[in-house]
Amino acid sequence: MNDIKVMIVDDSAIVRKVFAEELSKERGIEVVGTAPDPYVARDKIVKLKPDVVTLDIEMPRMDGITFLKKLMKYYPLPVIIVSSLTPKGGKLALEAIESGAVEVLSKPGAAYSVGDMKRQLADKIRAAASVRVSRQIDDSAVQGSTVEISSRALKETTNKVIAIGASTGGTEALKKVLCRFPPTIPGVVVVQHMPANFTTAFAARLNDLSAIEVKEAADGDAVLPGRALIAPGNFHMLLRRSGARYYVCVKTGPMVCHQRPAVDVLFKSTAQYAGANAVGVILTGMGSDGARGMVKMREAGARTIGQDEASCVVYGMPKEAVKMGAVEIVAPLDRIAQETINVL
């Protein structure tokens, strides 16, 4: 296989240098060029035809989002956003994903060392290289109406819980799923691989778009009908039960499958505390996180759904779950919300 050709766009000379040096040590990755601003980047992209671009969207004088939108229009290719950990950075990163970027990564800082970042960036570049980038971003499904649940079904769903796991491509996939859920939906718990702070902006954005409440989870938050809790970046989220009520425990701990939050952690706790009352959904993403947890859920009697290959940005996590026999129903993204409600 040929090396993955990478271009680094960042206004900081130091970042360009460090990224280029670190990535050049990775097998299968070749840094073909760097650019300090969008105009140089465009010229080099045309000339060097990289497979993946890393882009800092917070560049002085230049609007990274505008550049990204133009790039996706004229030279669509996988773009990984490298951003700061500030709330503004989180918001911009989210806008970037809506504009067609495939992944978000935070710059090294308090939560990540350069070493962590290097491994994560290399992983994300490998994932991004296999992504199918669509020219136009299709938002039609988001405007699609929510799915109805009959009142009969509702009575029986009070002790149900829906656990969802996603990674690369998951932010857009989750949007499509959560926006279809009606306010009567049982409590939803979500792990989306994302750096710390980005999950705050992500939850706020989904909350604006959805008929249900979407909240970045805090330790002890109750899992309630009509509410989805998103695990905060850099923390694991576990389902717990107290009497008839579910709540979440948000805590730190070792990374699982190189991830924190990890889908496996959420799914295993869901298997333990909700058993056959749970529905597990595994969406697009690279790697194998969630597969083992989903096996546990299945063993505990939960219904399980996996996103199909054709609609996945990266068919990794659902593939592993299918391989391990954990997935009961395979469905395209457009059908996930409906299938979830059908098995409640």
Partner: protein, 141 residues
Amino acid sequence: MAFNVLIVDDSSSMRSIIKKTLQMSGFDVGEILEAGNGKEALAVLEKEWADVILTDVHMPEMDGLEFLKVLNKQDVVSTTPVVVVTTEGREERLDELRGLGARACIRKPFRPEEIKKILADALGIDEKAITEKEDLDGCDF
């Protein structure tokens, strides 16, 4: 660094003059794209990446005003800065063009120095700063 410029004018000789003036100005011109009216310009923008647009006002089929109006409704290309190049002298007309988002209005004929400054302003670039950054980039690699 080079900037792609789209020149919209119904007169091909005027487009040539503008092109030549641009090239003489010292402004870093990349690709030069051309269109005979607003409608053609929109078709060009569907396929080609322009960094800045220079447009005439009086043109057949779709004039500069209509072009700006349609451009503003587009998703991606609406952010491309537009500079109006015209013989139009009426202030209210120029105000209308500015109201539609034109970054500057420049009277035909214009001098190379004028256009360089206007384009740099429209693109929001500080030429000195960019030269320095370029040097820094050169040191690294």
